[in-house]
């Protein structure tokens, strides 16, 4: 067993964590619904299973905590004790303790936790109205029972099968065959698939060239057909590998009921959380990175958005505030929304704050559109509440939210209505590794621009560009947008001196700007390769790729350019 022991322990840790993650939302649901035997039974079973496995592996502290918690849950399930807020707190505290103990095992730090107080708390819950008849595990007793086992006799009376159960069972269970695979192995497959895609792109280029030159040659025709098939299979493989990395967003959403409960309790507010679209699947890296930004947005919504009960009542609103979190797929993008029915963001206050913080001038504030004003909250060092609370409002946060989301090539849109609430909309691409880009040329350099950020492309004459207060602008069918020379941003060599310019309109949510460049080369599906040593969050480059012709090309990060450009405006 020792050979596998490490592996079994790491498997146990993963599964135990997953099981514990299920408890928080279940408990919050029970707190809402009141006594629900099915839900309680499920929590009971999780504790029970955890205890059993931990016993085998010799994790005594886990066994002790799980055992005491299980006893409480059992009495609760059987209706021997009743629900109290204190009880919920102690059980949730036990879950936290179990997580901590698992962390110690994981990091192999050999640290022990003092669980005596927790065990006392748990036992105190039992004492309240029970005769403290603990389950005993005396060996002698076991032997007694065992000797009474009859010889493999079948008792006729127990032969009735509960027909109802039989009918329900097959529908309920999902016969999912699963296999746990090391993430590194999966990433390797992803990486290799990327390489295959690149090779395919090159091959397609060569074959297209051959086909033009030797159109009548049957061997070239054959090659063309074979490569076309390879093209198809590679695309399918890409999708299959991408799906392997997808996980339901439930993994992240599952933490929120507890989060909202804890925050609203500590602030003395009443908040109902509605969650939908938990089964929406997103890339693994999205699961890993979307948690923190969402937690921050939700904290802000409870803390700053939802009003206190008396205020809500005075304003004729439902005393209980509502926060709705939802996720859905839209084309090849994933949309995550956090919507509250609180007081909304006061744009004048936001502007005032930004002025006092020196982020904008009074003049700029006057010119600002509502949308620009909302986006001020994402500026570093911005906070609308003067007294920093424990939860939010330390002035860090929303800018980090934006940075984290743009790391996922996504962006945030905020809409708010005074007195009615605020909605944060996070939009991220479905997959991060393979993207559609537009290949462009500025001066002598080639770049790739993610297609998801491009609204349109057009050709203008240099005369259409005008300069207003040092800012170049362009008028596109009545819309005035700022325009920048791509070669000036990238520091490449100068642009062609042609009277006609190509323009790419970049759209990041509501923020729009134009890039002027020399040539549009066409659309391509590319694989993002990270550039070692490049800090992608502080530059305008997402990564690099190899084109069909075998050229290395930088992939531009429109969000990064926007930040870079915004920086220029502010200084």
């Amino acid at each position: 067993m020792s050979d596998d022991l490490d592996e079994i322990i790491s498997e146990f840790l993963t599964e135990a964590e997953e099981s514990l993650d299920k408890i928080d939302p279940l408990f919050v649901e029970i707190e809402k619904k009141g006594h629900d035997k099915d839900l309680l039974n499920e929590i009971f079973r999780i504790m029970h299973t955890l205890k059993g496995a931990a016993g085998f592996l010799g994790f005594q502290q886990i066994v002790d905590v799980a055992h005491s918690a299980e006893n409480v849950l059992k009495k609760l399930r059987d209706g021997e004790i009743t629900f109290t807020k204190n009880l919920t707190d102690v059980i949730l505290h036990s879950v936290d303790m179990l997580r901590l103990l698992l962390d110690h095992i994981k990091s192999k730090d050999g640290e022990q936790e003092d669980i005596t107080y927790l065990l006392k708390d748990l036992d105190a819950l039992l004492q309240k109205d029970s005769e403290a008849s603990q389950i005993s595990t005396q060996h002698s007793e076991n032997e007694n029972i065992e000797s009474s086992i009859p010889d493999a006799k079948i008792n006729e009376t127990t032969c009735q099968i509960n027909e109802e159960k039989e009918k329900i069972a097959p529908e309920k269970r999902e016969c999912q065959q699963t296999l746990r695979v090391d993430v590194n192995k999966l990433d390797k497959v992803m990486d290799l698939t990327g390489e295959v895609v690149l090779v395919r792109n090159r091959l397609l280029n060569i074959v297209n060239f051959l086909e033009l030159k030797y159109a009548d040659d049957p061997i070239v025709q054959n090659l063309f057909e074979t490569v076309s098939f390879l093209d198809l299979v590679t695309s399918d493989m890409q999708i299959a590998v991408m799906k392997m990395r997808m996980q339901p967003i439930k993994k992240v959403f599952g933490k929120f009921p507890r989060l909202v409960r804890d925050i609203s309790n500590s602030l003395g507010k009443e908040v109902t959380l509605k969650v939908s679209g938990e089964d929406t699947e997103v890339d693994k890296s999205v699961i890993e990175h979307i948690g923190d930004p969402l937690v921050h947005i939700i904290r802000n919504s409870v803390d700053h958005g939802i009003e206190h009960v008396d205020v809500r009542r005075a304003n004729g609103k439902d005393e209980k505030g509502t926060i709705e979190i939802s996720a859905y797929q839209k084309g090849n993008q994933i949309v995550i929304e956090v919507k509250d029915d609180g007081k909304g963001i006061d744009l004048n206050k936001v502007k005032e704050k930004a002025i006092t913080k020196g982020l904008i001038t009074i003049e700029e504030a006057g010119r600002m559109s509502d949308n620009e004003a909302i986006n001020l909250i994402f500026q570093p060092g911005f906070s609308t509440v003067d007294i920093a609370t424990e939860l939010s409002g330390r002035g860090v946060g929303m800018d980090v939210v934006k940075t984290n989301i743009s790391k996922l090539n996504g962006y945030v849109e905020v809409s708010t209505k005074k007195g009615e609430g605020t909605c944060f909309k996070i939009i991220i691409p479905l997959t991060l590794a393979i993207i559609q880009v537009l290949m462009v040329r500025a001066g002598k350099s080639y770049y790739a621009i993610p297609l998801s950020n491009i609204e349109e492309t057009l050709k203008i004459s240099k005369k259409d560009m005008t300069s207003v207060a040092g800012q170049n602008i362009v008028n596109i069918r009545g819309r005035v947008l700022p325009i920048y020379e791509l070669s000036a941003i990238t520091g490449g060599n100068g642009a062609d001196n042609e009277p006609q310019r190509y323009v790419v309109v970049i759209a990041l949510g509501e923020t729009k700007f134009c890039l002027a460049l020399d040539e549009l080369l066409g659309q391509e599906e590319i694989v993002i390769k990270n550039i070692d040593g490049l800090q992608t969050d502080s530059s305008y480059v997402l990564g690099a790729t190899i084109t069909g012709e075998g050229k290395v090309v930088l992939i531009l990060d429109p969000a990064g350019i926007s930040r870079y450009k915004l920086g220029l405006i502010n200084t």
């Binding site: 596998d4 059993g52 016993g55 592996l57 010889d151 032969c159 009735q160 069972a169 016969c175």
Partner: protein, 129 residues
């Protein structure tokens, strides 16, 4: 003593537990071990035939070990299959129920390979009589 090649079905909803128990069986010398994650899946596997021993956890979603036991005992093809029940604590009342329903023996978590072997010895000794 017993046939180490016999096909064993381990039923538990927690994958780590299945793996631990599987390892213990392997330590004793068994090679042909299959797994099922609840009673319902176990039952459909058993119906496909070939199994000679069941080692099932009690507490599981969908169909628990006790229901599986009752189902197995009422099935003409399966009713004589040796059934070892895994329980967390020796809850006397529950164990007696299981005995009434025809369990061959039970084992309390956590257990070692030695304890498991003792239980197997007892089961096959009784069956051999």
């Amino acid at each position: 003593m017993y046939n180490y090649k016999m096909k064993i079905l381990i039923v538990d909803d927690f994958p780590t537990m299945r793996r631990i128990i599987k390892n213990l069986f392997k330590q004793i010398g068994f090679e042909n071990i299959e797994e099922a994650e609840d009673g319902a899946i176990a039952y459909s596997k058993l119906k496909n035939g070939g199994y000679e021993f069941i080692c099932s956890d009690w507490n599981m979603p969908n169909m628990d070990g006790f229901e599986l036991l009752k189902k197995v005992r009422s099935d003409n093809d399966l009713k004589s299959l040796p059934f070892l029940m895994v329980t967390a604590e020796a809850e006397k009342q529950k164990v007696i129920e299981a005995i009434k329903a025809g369990v061959n023996n039970y084992i309390v978590k956590p257990f070692t390979a030695e304890t498991l072997k003792e239980k197997l010895d007892k089961i096959f000794e009784k069956l051999g009589k």
